[in-house]
Structures are given as structure tokens and as C-alpha cells.
């Protein structure tokens, strides 16, 4: 499937996340908590040839727009991605990702001794650094493989 074909196979309403770094599409679905069980139509394109990126992934989710929290985490693992909000088959909004200052409740802390892993009534909070994120509670810095720390419910 070419970039062109994907763009023209329009969805009536929902979100198209384009220009995802090749190989990250499944992590994007994990962030969105999409595993097919809630019934929305999801299309995933992987390793699609792209002039800009060589290869890229695309995720299309029908009937769903993203929350700010979701966009924030997305920007950490797929900073190049663009988000197209579709209504009535048209792109009504195109968002480029900006790194947030902090992400709340989405990542889990890799430090087993962190209070956020101790069954306490708190959400995780991470400050976003230039090259990683940092737990506001135990101060652990995570630089590699952020997607592995997404707290999927």
C-alpha cells in the first residue's frame, strides 16, 4: 500500500496518526490503549515507503480523538508523528507534536522501590528532560525505550 493510497482511503471520523517512526505503530496503539476489544475500526500500516522518512508507520482509528495526555506520551516515543483529526471525511485539524513539560499517569516508573509502585493512591508524574524523562517521586531518569514503560490498563 502506498502513501497515496493510504491517504485517499478516507475515514468518516476519527484520527490518523501519520509519519510514525517505522516500527513504533504497535507502541502507539499501546499508548492509546487500543487492543481491538472496544470495537473501533483500526488500520495499521507498517514500513510504508516515505519520501521524507524512508519508511514510516501509520495508524488510523475511527470514531476516536486523542486526549492531551495521549498526545503528550505520543510526542515522547514518536516525536516526528503528525496527528490528523478527521470529521466528515476531511482533515479538520493537523497537529504537530510538541514535547510536553511533564506527563502524568501514563508511564510507570522502572524503579521497583519507587513509591508509585507501592499501591499508593498516586498517579505517576514524569518531568520531560531534553533526552528522557524523570520520575518526580524517586527522581529516576529514563532515557531508553520509553515505550516499554507505558502503563497500559
Amino acid at each position: 500500500m502506498s502513501d497515496h493510497q493510504l491517504r485517499v482511503s478516507k475515514i468518516p471520523r476519527g484520527t490518523v496518526i501519520d509519519h510514525i517512526r517505522a516500527g513504533q505503530a504497535l507502541n502507539v496503539l499501546a499508548i492509546l490503549g487500543i487492543d481491538g476489544r472496544s470495537g473501533e475500526t483500526v488500520s495499521v500500516g507498517m514500513n510504508i515507503p516515505s519520501d521524507q522518512m524512508g519508511q514510516k508507520d501509520i495508524v488510523k482509528v475511527e470514531g476516536r480523538e486523542l486526549s492531551q495526555d495521549e498526545v503528550d506520551v505520543l510526542s515522547l516515543i514518536a516525536p516526528e508523528a503528525t496527528i490528523n483529526i478527521i470529521r466528515e471525511y476531511e482533515v479538520v485539524e493537523k497537529q504537530y507534536l510538541e514535547r510536553p513539560e511533564r506527563v502524568v499517569g501514563v508511564l510507570s516508573c522502572p524503579n521497583h522501590n519507587c513509591i508509585t509502585n507501592a499501591n499508593e493512591p498516586v498517579e505517576t508524574k514524569f518531568d520531560v528532560l531534553d533526552d528522557g524523562v524523570r520520575c518526580e517521586y524517586c527522581e529516576t531518569i529514563v532515557r531508553e525505550d520509553l515505550a516499554a514503560h507505558i502503563a497500559v490498563e
Partner: protein, 307 residues
């Protein structure tokens, strides 16, 4: 968050530190003048980890200010054992006390509790995280013996898990101090602490051998290397031997070197050092009371003004 919680040494500015140390010096000079200052104050002690020493030091401090304590007791005998969350325990105990002291094995515990309680909270150790009241008494001891500016300090031992080390290193970035860190490769400063020291522009050097730097030091701060950090006994013995000091080691040191240790020690400092002018660790331990009195005095005074 209340401005008067003390969670990490990072929140201490030079002015904050100096205010506490100056007050501690006043208390040291004339303890009787402070005897009834807070005679209606109750300090809540929440120790989720055994730490008799720190606890006694807080207890003495509040009693010398005329106040009293409530103690949640050991974890085994409390509601925690029935599965109560820390957030709930703290919210119950804050109703009994004017300020809380928390020691907990999880990193970030004090920061979390500070989001739930409305009385001032003092972090008395959160896992491998922070121990800011220890830092204040360390700074007091350094100031009395060597001065806090134009200081060359060596911090040796378990730098990875040692929370007293992390807090002290952060606090020293407020002063004109060259910090040298001496440890085996496996117990070097954690990434998060190095990151903060780097951000603050502090002068930091890491060493694996004490000899390299000992002659230049004004203060040598020794910490305990714990057996449980090493998979086998032989490796532990070897490392413990390398990062311990005795009279022979100290021959290369300046005559006015100040040797400190947060105690308890095991073999890191040979008992023969105790009778020399270098040994400052018992004085350091005693400084815990005036420094904690100063801190509590400041905290409780602010609280009384709020009322």
C-alpha cells in the same frame, strides 16, 4: 505544596541552610533559652523502617524545645500491617500532631505524603533517596570544623545507595566546595544525582582510589558499604578493606583533616582513629540534636504564625 515541608536537600538554598545552622549555633551556645519555646507542640514520628538513632535524635530535639511526641510504633504493630496505605496512615497521624517526621523504605515516599498532609513534613530518609536533616547536621559539622566555602571534600563508600551522600552532594552545590567522590566502580553515584550536580554547575570529580586525592582534602566523609550490595562475601571483604581508613591511611592526609561518618560504622574507620584530632563523627552525631531543634523551631514558629 506547603513551603515548609523538608523533602529533599535540593530545596535548600544557601540562605535556608545558613538560617538553620545559625539557629543551631545559638541553641548550642545556650540550650536553656529554647527550653519552653514550643511547649504545646506535638511531633508525629512515622518510622516505617527501624532507625532508633534518627528517631531518638528527633525525640530529644522536640523535648528540649518543651514539646512532646506521638509515635506510630513499629510497622508490625500498626495498621500498616493490615494493608493500610501510607497516604491513609499519614492523613490519620497528622490529626494528632503539629508536624510529622517520616522514614520510609520507598523512594519518593516523603514527596508523596507531602501531597496529602497539611502539617509540615520532615523527610528522615526515603529508601535510597534523600535524608535532608542528616545533611543539615553534616553541614553544621563541616562549618564548625572546616568552613563551607573554599572547601575540598572527599565523599567515600557507597555512593550509589547512600542517601546521606545524595543529600549532602546536592546541598554542597550552594557553597564553594570541590566535591570528590571515591567509590568502587559498582557503587558510583547514580545517574540522577550526577545529572543534578552537573545541572547545578558543581565541581565534581570521581575516583576509584582514595590515595589520588586524600592529601588535598579538608574533609573526608566516609560511608558504610553494605554487605548486601555484593553477591559474594569475598568481593565484599575486598571492597570493604579498600575503602576503609586507619592511622596508616591518614599519614598522607593534611594535619587538620576532618573525618566524618553518618554512623553506624562497621569496619570503615578503624577504632584507632577515634582518639585522633581527625575524628569528628561522634561530634557530628551529637550535632543532630541542636540542628533538629533549630529546624523544628523554625518550622513550628512558622506554623504558629499561620494560626
Amino acid at each position: 505544596m506547603r513551603h515548609d515541608h523538608l523533602i529533599t536537600a535540593k530545596q535548600l538554598s544557601r540562605e535556608n541552610v545558613e538560617a538553620v545552622l545559625d539557629r543551631a549555633a545559638e541553641i548550642d551556645a545556650d540550650p536553656a533559652a529554647f527550653a519552653d519555646r514550643h511547649d504545646d507542640a506535638v511531633l508525629g514520628l512515622c518510622f516505617f523502617e527501624p532507625s532508633t538513632r534518627t528517631k531518638m535524635s528527633f525525640e530529644t530535639a522536640i523535648k528540649r524545645l518543651g514539646g512532646d511526641i506521638v509515635d506510630m510504633g513499629s510497622v508490625e504493630s500498626s495498621s500498616v500491617k493490615k494493608g493500610e496505605s501510607l497516604a491513609d496512615t499519614a492523613r490519620v497521624i497528622e490529626g494528632y500532631a503539629d508536624a510529622l517526621v517520616l522514614r520510609h523504605p520507598s523512594q519518593g515516599a516523603a514527596k508523596m505524603v507531602s501531597e496529602f498532609v497539611d502539617v509540615p513534613l520532615l523527610n528522615a530518609g526515603d529508601g535510597a533517596g534523600h535524608h535532608p536533616t542528616q545533611t543539615l547536621l553534616d553541614l553544621y559539622t563541616i562549618r564548625e570544623n572546616a568552613g563551607l566555602d573554599d572547601l575540598t571534600i572527599g565523599i567515600m563508600g557507597d555512593l550509589k545507595y547512600g542517601r546521606t551522600v545524595h543529600s549532602l552532594a546536592h546541598a554542597l552545590t550552594n557553597f564553594d566546595a570541590d566535591q570528590h567522590f571515591i567509590s568502587p566502580e559498582s557503587l558510583k553515584l547514580p545517574r540522577s544525582v550526577r545529572y543534578d550536580l552537573h545541572e547545578s554547575g558543581a565541581m565534581v570529580r570521581e575516583h576509584t582510589e582514595l590515595d589520588e586525592i586524600l592529601p588535598a582534602l579538608d574533609v573526608l566523609y566516609v560511608t558504610r558499604i553494605q554487605r548486601e550490595r555484593f553477591p559474594d562475601e569475598n568481593e565484599y571483604q575486598q571492597v570493604a578493606g579498600e575503602y576503609g581508613i586507619d592511622l596508616e591511611t591518614l599519614e598522607a592526609a593534611k594535619d587538620d583533616l576532618t573525618v566524618m561518618h553518618p554512623l553506624p560504622r562497621v569496619d570503615e574507620i578503624a577504632p584507632e582513629v577515634d582518639d585522633t584530632d581527625y575524628a569528628t563523627y561522634f561530634e557530628q552525631a551529637h550535632n543532630g540534636v541542636p540542628v533538629r531543634m533549630a529546624l523544628l523551631d523554625q518550622m513550628l514558629a512558622e506554623r504558629e504564625e499561620d494560626r
